[in-house]
């Protein structure tokens, strides 16, 4: 690897699996429940968090020696909040349809504990490049889980992926519906996201015994 040293690579790959923010650190659960009924919303939320966390981590890291420790949480909040407002405005200007469906969730980014968690735990103590990689890594780790959950919820709940029917037509009874398959409306309810996340945690921990706490 030319561009990234081994340590740097770990910053990106670790949060994808063995130190995943959702399944291992159990952060950011609220948005994972709220928006994963559709794959498209999961993907866009993942991208939005990628931007906010990547840029936010760099900003905090650059300011780390200047931020007075007494007001560091407020400073972090301001950084997140202004980045979120910028994302919201840009979406409204260039992807209006999308911003209408996402407007509720864009606001939720501010409350996403992964972001504050990474600022506090990593960016305040590391350089900008490392912080950037850490932000990207954690956001990707978050996005991966969101996309997995969104994939199963949309497929099993609505029989579609990205809004495109993949299992046939439930009303005309074509495709798998012709043999008696039914969409599971339950999958569209938020608790099912928690159950899918639980299953992911189960699979992950049974493959890597080190993750099991006693």
């Amino acid at each position: 690897m030319g561009l990234l040293s081994k340590k740097d690579t770990k910053l990106i790959t670790d949060p994808l699996a063995d130190n995943n923010p959702i399944t291992i650190q159990v952060l950011g659960i609220c948005s994972a429940l709220a928006i994963t009924a559709e794959l498209k919303a999961s993907l866009v939320m993942g991208i939005a968090v990628l931007f906010v966390l990547g840029v936010g981590n760099v900003v905090i890291s650059l300011l780390r020696n200047l931020i007075p420790s007494k007001i560091r949480i407020i400073v972090q909040l301001i950084v997140v909040a202004s980045l979120v407002i910028i994302v919201d405005q840009v979406l409204k200007a260039f992807a209006f349809e999308l911003s209408k469906t996402l407007s509720v969730f864009i606001g939720l980014i501010i409350t996403n504990c992964i972001i504050m968690g990474r600022f506090e735990a990593f960016a305040l103590g590391n350089g900008p490049w490392k912080s950037f990689l850490d932000g990207i890594g954690n956001a990707l780790g978050y996005a991966v889980i969101l996309i997995i959950v969104g994939f199963f919820r949309e497929l099993l709940g609505s029989g579609t992926l990205f809004g495109i029917p993949v299992l046939g037509d439930p009303i005309e009874k074509t495709g798998v519906y012709s043999i008696g398959y039914e969409n599971n409306g339950f999958m569209l309810m938020p608790p099912m996201a928690l159950i899918i996340v639980g299953l992911i945690i189960w699979v992950q921990r049974s493959r890597n015994k080190d993750l099991i706490e006693d």
């Binding site: 020696n65 200047l66 007075p68 400073v75 301001i78 202004s82 407002i85 840009v90 200007a93």
Partner: protein, 264 residues
């Protein structure tokens, strides 16, 4: 670095500088993107009005689909044959203007295309004791005229609004509702096809010409909404206050148009 970041004076200075920098950055972004956002909102209004008229990109029975944003302007121009503005005060029409008259007016409260009239501003004008401008968007389909009126009210959390298309007897031909922040899965479902479509065919006037409005009713007397003479549509589960808001804005805002339709 030799800055003592624990000193109070430093903390205050940092906070002040931070607020200034962030504030101007956000102000800059907002004003730079404002024209784009305004344009998007303008197109959206046209799409909403066209939707209420029944001109949309809907396929099957699923989601609502507007006409394509790029074609909205042209479709709006061809389908909305006439825009008029009624000036009302105390339940009486004191002036009737064509869209051009209103748009070309020198008056600062006028001078815009009628479809850009902000219903919220008009509601405030009434509270200030002024007259209210009511726009109507008319489509002429082989002599069958359809009139679209904007309405606005309160949901559970924030504003709700919509466009209702009615014929000259004030029978609903189509409706579109939207909201700012109703609960997803509950009140937000006023934006769903199955709710909006229920309004089509409902009457606003009794046989005697008295304004009855349409109530979003929880009675479950007519869950499939086959009875079009009951002045009721079936409510959404778990969204009582949003539903009441829809009933209220229909009754309040559409009633204002009654004198106009009585004289047609």
């Amino acid at each position: 670095m030799a800055v003592n970041t624990d000193k109070n004076s430093y903390t205050i200075l940092f906070a002040v500088v931070m607020v200034l920098v962030v504030g101007s950055l956000l102000a800059f972004t907002a004003s730079a993107l404002k024209p784009n956002i305004k344009e998007n909102e303008r197109i959206e209004k046209q799409q909403n009005i066209l939707y209420a008229m029944g001109i949309n990109g809907n396929e099957g029975t699923g989601d609502i689909t507007f006409v394509d944003a790029k074609k909205a302007e042209a479709k709006f121009a061809t389908n909305v044959s006439e825009q008029i503005v009624l000036e009302v005060k105390d339940g009486k029409i004191i002036n009737e203007m064509t869209g051009e008259e209103f748009a070309n007016s020198e008056d600062t409260d006028k001078g815009i295309e009628p479809y850009l009239i902000d219903v919220k501003k008009q509601q405030t004008r009434v509270k200030e004791g002024k007259s209210r401008y009511l726009p109507l968007f008319i489509s002429d389909n082989n002599g069958q005229k359809v009139y679209v009126a904007p309405i606005r009210g309160k949901g559970l959390w924030d504003a709700i609004w919509g466009y209702v298309a009615i014929d000259k007897k004030m029978v609903v031909q189509g409706a579109f509702f939207d909201h700012k922040g109703e609960t997803p899965g509950l009140g937000a479902n006023i934006k769903q096809r199955y709710f909006m479509d229920d309004f089509t065919g409902e009457r606003l006037l009794s046989d005697e010409g008295v304004f009855r409005g349409i109530t979003v009713a929880k009675g479950n007397n007519d869950p499939k909404n086959e009875d079009k003479d009951d002045y009721e549509v079936d409510a959404l589960a778990g969204a009582t206050i949003t539903g009441d808001g829809v009933s209220a804005m229909i009754k309040k805002d559409l009633k204002l148009y009654l004198p106009y339709f009585k004289n047609l």
